[in-house]
């Protein structure tokens, strides 16, 4: 409970700051449509409060208070987002010159500089890119883009200094969610880098980054990111409740956190989503979701999750809508085939031979001639060996993995058929199932379906299509009953939400998707202006001209 104490103290501090200070100021800045300019005042504490009230919810805002050694000394403060700045640069180009730069100068000079702050800045500050700023909102934008702001007591101008971490950054390729056309940037193991990637994608004071420490011994660093005026406060509060009750010795990976915060911990399906793509996180934060970052994992947990998340690929938004829809429906087909194809094969070849077109029935029967096992055992044998092959392929080192796949292809594809152990039809069925399973990139959903498939196969072997229907019914009942942080998992199908289907079932053109889902977001539903559909220029007006 110790880490939560830290958290509580921080929150109360923030609350006090909020209450004591001009909430009007922060409101004006937060609702950026209001273009009323706010200037910095001469009072350092006031200026600091302005920043505090704007970034109050985020834990990565940092104030470095210092005294400039003029005569007498001046109080000053550097404001920056610690996730975006280069600390050695901050030290060498700002902190050291300000605190120690005047050490060798005479008292007269230091007295002079006390009165003339402009000269002080010119003489002392060694940073390369210095911009004086009077306007508060401008200064906030600077902070959000990784600059540092120097506030000096009795001086109504803030100094923006370039101390951002710059482009020198290790980005990883997203390993599990590759796209053809689109950013090739993935999260890395370092949490601060990850936060800075998110910060760079959403430069808003409303993006809140909260810090937590979980693990009695491991003290794992966890950061929660959400957009303050979009995400539902009740879901945020619920998430923090669930995170804070994790009292364990250590957290090994981000998936461990998922297990502690799941709505239905014993269910086959997980109701949390994960991704390693910053663009995906950006899109989901803007939808009102909450991201959980774990130091040491490039996978970011996202809650609340819905079933469509597992079918959506970032690529959908980089291709034209027609093709995106096609590939998305391919994904739905993939999920269906992955779950039901082997069981349908078993059912129709052992119970409903009249359902197969005659010529196909004859071919299947011919191919199965001499196979000693019933269709169920045959399919099970192949499915299990394929799963084993897949596991071997992922576990083994790459060069051995290739050998495994050659052996697998030879044994499963050819030798088993030639030896008469299995029929060639079942090889096709298993191969098709495998290919369809690869259309679903998110393994925690597709692996649940892969397990459900075996259940379906058993039902099909004993009861035929009737069994499959019963199984499908049970599966549907289960999925519909799931909730993720109170949000129905099967949105937009159940409860039916046509508005949400525009983005989650199909992929409408961007200008057609104007609203956030009311199931996730409770206020601030409209996410863009209406009538954004591009139109040809008004030619009538042109004629008049």
């Amino acid at each position: 409970m110790r880490k939560s104490m830290v958290e509580i103290i921080k929150e109360t501090l923030n609350n006090i700051v909020k209450k004591n200070n001009k909430i009007n100021v922060s409101k004006n800045i937060k609702t950026q449509g209001n273009s009323k300019l706010i200037k910095f005042s001469r009072n350092l504490d006031k200026n600091i409060h302005i920043f505090e009230s704007c970034f109050g919810n985020s834990d990565d805002i940092n104030f470095r208070h210092l005294e400039i050694s003029t005569h007498p000394s001046i109080r000053a403060s550097v404001v920056f987002l610690e996730t975006l700045v280069d600390e050695s640069l901050l030290e060498s180009s700002v902190l050291t010159p300000l605190t120690q730069g005047l050490g060798g100068r005479s008292i007269e000079e230091r007295t002079y500089l006390h009165a003339h702050i402009d000269s002080l800045i010119k003489r002392v500050l060694s940073n390369g890119n210095i911009v004086p700023i009077q306007d508060v909102s401008e200064a906030i934008d600077e902070v959000l883009s990784g600059k540092g702001i120097l506030l000096i007591d009795k001086y109504p101008t803030a100094i923006s200094m370039n101390i951002s971490r710059g482009a020198v950054r290790e980005y990883a390729d997203p390993q599990t969610e590759k796209v053809v056309k689109g950013p090739q940037q993935g999260f890395v193991e370092d949490i601060d880098t990850n936060v800075s990637m998110i910060r760079k994608k959403i430069k808003s004071v409303n993006l809140v980054i909260k810090e937590l420490k979980i693990g009695r011994e491991s003290k794992s660093e966890i950061k929660v990111a959400y957009i303050d005026n979009i995400a539902s406060p009740s879901i945020v509060a619920e998430l923090f409740t669930r995170l804070k009750r994790i009292d364990v010795d250590g957290i090994v990976g981000s998936s461990i956190i998922e297990e502690y915060i799941n709505d239905s911990p014993t269910n086959l399906f997980q109701t949390t989503f994960y991704t390693e793509r910053p663009d995906r996180v950006q899109a989901m934060l803007l939808e009102g979701r909450i991201a959980i970052l774990y130091d040491g994992s490039p996978f970011i947990i996202i809650v609340p999750a819905i079933v469509s998340d597992f079918f959506i690929s970032s690529e959908d938004y980089y291709e034209n809508p027609y093709f995106s829809n096609f590939s998305r429906f391919l994904g739905y087909l993939g999920a269906f085939m992955l779950t039901f194809l082997p069981s349908i094969y078993i059912a129709i070849t052992t119970f409903h031979q009249e359902m197969i077109p005659t010529s196909l029935a004859l071919t299947i029967a011919g191919a199965r001639a001499g196979v000693p096992y019933p269709a169920f055992v045959e399919a099970l044998l192949m499915e299990v060996s394929f799963e084993a092959l897949r596991q071997a392929g992922t576990r083994l080192p790459t060069h051995v993995g290739q050998a495994v796949s050659i052996v697998g292809a030879l044994i499963i594809g050819q030798a088993a058929v030639e030896a008469g152990l299995v029929s060639s039809t079942v090889v096709i069925v298993v191969a098709a199932t495998a290919i369809f399973s690869f259309t679903l990139p998110y393994t925690n959903f597709s692996s649940s379906l892969r397990l459900a498939r075996f259940f379906m196969m058993a039902l099909a072997a004993t009861l035929g299509i009737y069994g499959i229907m019963t199984g499908a019914l049970l599966l549907a009942l289960n999925l519909i009953s799931l909730r993720s942080f109170g949000v129905p998992f099967m949105v937009p199908f159940a409860p039916l939400s046509l508005q949400d289907m525009k983005d989650w079932l199909a992929r409408f053109p961007q200008w057609a998707i104007t609203q956030r889902s009311p199931h996730i977001v409770h206020e601030n539903i409209n996410k863009k202006a209406k009538h954004l559909k591009p139109k040809p220029p008004n030619t009538e007006g042109r004629k008049e001209l």
């Binding site: 029935a361 029967a365 011919g366 001639a369 196979v371």
Partner: protein, 383 residues
Amino acid sequence: MKRSSIILVLLLSTLLTTSCWSRREIDQLGFVMGLGISKTEEGLYSVVAQVANTDRIVADAPDPRAIYTIIKSEGLTVFDALRNLSMVAKRRLYIAHIKALVIDESIAKEGIGDVVSFLVQDMETRLETNVFISKIPPEDIFDTPNYLGVIPAVGLTTMADNYGANSKIYISDLHETIEAVNNPSRNYVTTLVEKMPPPSEEELPHLKLTQIAVFEDHSLKGYLDYEEGQGFNLITNNFTNGLITFQSAPDGDRIVIEVLESTTKITPSYENQKVSFHIELRLKGNVAERIPLHGRARELGIDLVQDELDQVLQDKLIRAIDTAQQKYEIDYFNLSKDFFRKYPKEFKELRDDWNQVFSNATITVDVESTVVHSALNLNKGRI
């Protein structure tokens, strides 16, 4: 929670009620593709089944004769004979994929009602099975291998599906057969299948759908030739894309019209105890072919062709009607259906000797044809 657990229990208990009922592996089945029914001299029913030899079908280059096997058995009834097949068959016979039902002419003359009734009761049969009549024993029809590697029963169905290309024959499926058999005032038609000698020495004999077989209720009465067959299809609205050939009067050219669309409207009327029908035929076609008799073709007037086509069609219809009314005295066009729709009460009185009423009915014919275009390149597209 309580409700959902009740639903779960109910669902799961339904699972237990079935066990593995009717489970059978596909490779253990003998797929019956065709079924033939005939009678032996002793008066027993004999059933012959064409069973697909699935192992050979998937082979690389199957021998045409090896892809099927024919088994035969006898019994007191059709079902008895079929069950007796199990004493011969090496596999469990499965008749859900049956394509063709061939009935021997001798049985057809006695009436096919008793024979097909069993097939309806059997839950496995499909009603889309085509029904054929044969003058030779069904086993000879089925044992007609071809180099295409098609099982003869399947080949019969393909030919039946393509009837529209000629529209000279008409094939009923089992569904129509059963309707006609169970309805005393419905007369039945289907096609005759014959085995033709091979066209060349190396070739095998082949099957041909030759004539429409007409029935009085469900007993075979006779056959229609091609002209009457086309007339039959025109009147019953089954004429699809057949050809109509005639000689043009002015210069004796042979003209072939390919029919694109044909609709027939039948208007019955009942006045003064007299039944009459008016048949309106609207037909649309192309000039598909023209064989000039005297040298180069001259320009052809489209109105002339249309008039001639009208006349040809009218002759066809009248000939078909005359055959029905005078030669067979059977309403195999089933005009009774149209009459019943308009005069349901009157039909009840006339129902019992409807064929007699039909033979005496006045039937008038009105034909109007449209020739759409020449479909010929001669004369730069002009007819």
